[in-house]
């Protein structure tokens, strides 16, 4: 009964989405208020329907309803409750439903929080989002229905893939999807602006907070995924340039470019076409990511069951959405006027450079990801593109971008003068360079690469700090008053930029100073890694709820004093008979110790992989800072104020 209820709720949702998408858009074009009035209630009704459907699927998992094929394939009576709930998105059908669910959450949020925007704009945005929802609901209902019955019912479920039985599963996919789907709001705003022909500063100001929030979720989602891979896959890597990772990284790069170009469009009214283009492309890349993951055209560790029918559907949808919006762009863009003029050296030109670099980086990742597919399609052989390509192309593009982080925020709009910016920049460089040159000496092994990496990381952090100092130092008011007058958006920018620096320092240190050994150990053996002594104290058997495990006891000490005991495990999940390595990680601010059990040689002798990873945690803390910066920027006071005056739709004067 419950599966049918869920199925029915989704069918109703599809009908409601059609109402949300089609008559409302006609209303916008004709200026018919009655038709436009449909948009908000439809958005709310759609949210209720999809939430009901989603709730029904959760209930099927919780109640072990193995007469539902999807539940039988991804759950088991012995599965712990948390994972029964997360198993909802542990497979293809459910993760598509999660996609739709989050799309309706975003739609609902737009309906609720943009009451002060002009009715045409909100309606057009909701209509575009409704049409996207139509596509995905149709996909769920016709090509990947999670409520399909399995008759006769299975006696027992096949269990969730052990790799996914981890708390990370509760956060990584929803966060990532929030980010992916969130770009649909920026996309919808762009399309709404193209339809109405009102590509102005007001449009940029409205879509800015939405874009920033989506970007924040995407940042967190990617970071969580990376962290999860780090501790779950058992060998301590944190980024693999896997096609699916790239599929999430490309929208992130473009989204970053979009955030910056939106700033220019809002403040100075230029880059309008470019910004619209980026908004379309960022969402197009989100859809492309869905296509790449769902269709199986690329090989990846994220091995989802693939079905060519689904691939054709998603590709068809991609063609309709992106094709029609690019056509609309080609039709409307030529009529958009140019914005304010700016000089060769100004904040605009520096942000343009930022956009060009980010676009090039996206292109590089894009080519590396799709190159194997293109070669294969042209019958030129099968190859795979790995980390060496990505690193050698990506890093050189990032270096100038990171240098710009320090310069850009100090530059004035329209025309910047080097004279005004020189002093803080030289001071920052003078502080950072000796530090970066000296710091590698502390680790005993100096290398130019490390010094450069540290210099870039420290530069970003110090320059962000310097921007605050410059603001506080100048002017007549007291320093505290000036500090308090700094808008939240600026703090957000500073924090996010400093996060990039923290991230760079983490990556540099891990890449160059991590040490790893693979040792054969019998009870009582010791190994020394990174100044720590690891003593293997034997193995015990352990029974988990749905697995059996061998758990090692490894005592860690440094200079004779104990640091702690680590318990790496090797698990066999009994239903799928799949062995899993549960690494033991001792995390600290300055280093992680990482111990993973390898293969047993006999009962008492095991291969252990022990790693010392300096500053690895900074990689994710850097991402958290970036996300936090995004949150601060998105909740800036002027967006809340701006809403109140938005009905006037007048371009904002160039504040800040």
């Amino acid at each position: 009964m419950i599966p049918e209820l869920g199925h029915f709720a989704l069918i109703v949702a599809l009908a409601v989405a059609l109402v949300q998408g089609i008559p409302t858009l006609i209303g916008v074009v004709r200026g018919d208020m009655r038709l436009m009035a449909l948009a908000r209630p439809a958005a709310q009704a759609q949210f209720l329907c999809v939430a009901t459907g989603f709730g029904c699927l959760v209930q099927c998992f919780v109640s072990n309803d193995f007469s539902v094929r999807y539940v039988a394939e991804h759950s088991n009576t012995l599965l712990p409750m948390l994972y029964k709930v997360t198993a909802v998105w542990g497979g293809h059908e459910g993760s598509m439903l999660l996609w739709v669910m989050l799309l309706t959450v975003w739609t609902m949020a737009v309906a609720l929080f943009s009451r002060r925007l002009p009715r045409e704009t909100v309606t057009a945005v909701l209509a575009v989002m409704g049409l996207i929802s139509v596509g995905f609901l149709a996909f769920v209902l016709f090509a990947s229905n999670p409520f399909e019955r399995l008759l006769p019912a299975a006696a027992e479920g096949r269990d969730l893939n052990p790799m996914l039985q981890d708390p990370g599963m509760a956060f990584h996919p929803p966060m990532l999807y929030m980010g992916y789907v969130g770009f649909s709001v920026a996309f919808a705003f762009a399309i709404a602006a193209l339809i109405s022909g009102r590509l102005d500063a007001a449009w940029a100001r409205w879509s800015r907070p939405w874009t920033t929030v989506a970007w924040m979720f995407l940042t967190l989602g990617i970071a969580l995924g990376s962290w999860w891979a780090y501790y779950e896959l058992g060998w301590g890597g944190w980024w693999f340039w896997d096609p699916v990772e790239n599929a999430s990284f490309m929208p992130w790069l473009l989204g970053t470019a979009l955030i910056h170009s939106l700033a220019v469009t809002e403040k100075r009214g230029c880059f309008k076409n470019w910004t619209v283009m980026l908004a379309i492309l960022a969402f197009a890349l989100s859809l492309l990511g869905t296509f790449l993951v769902r269709s199986g055209v690329l090989t990846s560790v994220h091995a989802f069951a693939t079905d060519p029918k689904r691939g054709i559907f998603v590709l068809g949808f991609l063609v309709v959405v992106v094709g029609s919006s690019l056509t609309l762009f080609a039709w409307r863009a030529p009529k958009v006027g140019r914005g304010g003029l700016f000089e060769l050296f100004s904040r605009e030109s520096l942000l343009l450079l930022n956009n060009v670099l980010l676009m090039a980086a996206t292109g590089a990742v894009f080519i590396g990801t799709l190159y194997p597919l293109c070669l294969d399609a042209l019958d030129l052989g099968k190859i795979s593109v790995g980390a060496p390509y990505f690193e050698s192309v990506f890093v050189p593009l990032m270096v100038p971008l990171v240098l710009l982080i320090g310069v850009g925020p100090l530059a004035r709009w329209k025309a910047a003068r080097w004279k005004d910016m020189a002093r803080p920049l030289w001071l920052t460089a003078g502080l950072v360079l000796p530090l970066a040159l000296a710091m590698p000496l502390l680790s005993g092994r100096w290398s130019l690469f490390v010094a450069c990496g540290l210099a870039l990381g420290l530069w970003t952090i110090a320059a962000s700090f310097a921007q605050i100092v410059v603001r506080v130092a100048g002017g007549t008011a007291g320093p505290w008053a000036r500090l308090a007058s700094i808008p939240r958006a600026q703090w957000g920018m500073m924090l996010a930029h400093a996060g990039v620096g923290v991230f760079i320092i983490g990556v540099t240190m891990v890449k160059n100073y991590e040490t790893a050994v693979e040792v054969r150990m019998t009870t009582g053996d010791t190994a020394s890694v990174g100044g720590y002594t690891f003593t293997f104290q034997g193995i015990e058997e352990l029974n988990g709820p749905n697995y059996i495990a061998a758990r090692a006891r490894v005592e860690v000490s440094r200079d004779g004093s104990s640091v702690g005991v680590m318990h790496p495990e090797k698990r066999i999940y009994t239903v799928q008979r799949m062995p899993m390595t549960e690494a033991a990680i001792d995390s600290g601010v300055f280093r992680d110790l990482y111990v993973a059990l390898g293969e047993p040689l006999d009962i008492r002798t095991w291969i252990l992989r022990i790693q010392h990873k300096p500053l690895v945690g900074w990689i994710w803390w850097g991402c958290v800072l970036m996300a936090l910066g995004g949150l601060l920027a998105a909740t800036d006071r002027r967006y809340r104020l701006a809403g109140r005056t938005a009905d006037a739709a007048a371009p904002m004067p160039g504040a800040i």
Binding site: G311, L315, L318, V322, G323, L326, L373, K382, R577, M578
Partner: protein, 175 residues
Amino acid sequence: MRRFLWPLGLFIILVGFLAAGLGLKPREVPSPFIGKPAPAFRLSQLHAPERITGPESMRGEVWLLNVWASWCGSCREEHPVLLELAQRKLVPVIGLDYKDERQAGQSWLARNGDPYLLSVFDQDGRVGIDYGVYGVPETFVIDKAGIVRHKHIGPLTDAVLNEKIIPLVKELNGA
């Protein structure tokens, strides 16, 4: 207007590649072993640990080497296909029980039926590495002279068997 059509044009080219990609199978990496002698091994039989078997014992016959394991979910999927093949007695199939426990492998066959002429037991997966196995199940077609003629990655299906493997076996037997 023309320069604003560029993105659309590029997108159409991309869609062409993606559509072509749908018809491709990136997991089918051509095996470097095709046309080369099957790598030698000396492994104990799954059901008779004292008996050592190698590929040379099949010299003079066309045979299949099927890599499986009790922990492998897709093996269960292809198992009925193998059982039916065994009933038709078209070609002998040797199983390579890959990275498994002897007890688990034996009871898995006892439970699901044993389509194999015999299975050899590759506990640490060394032989699997020699054969370039990277996903289980995999199936190799080996001819009378001990040359690998074909490799199928992933579960066998009726279609694969009837359209590719059985015609190939017949052709090799005829030659």
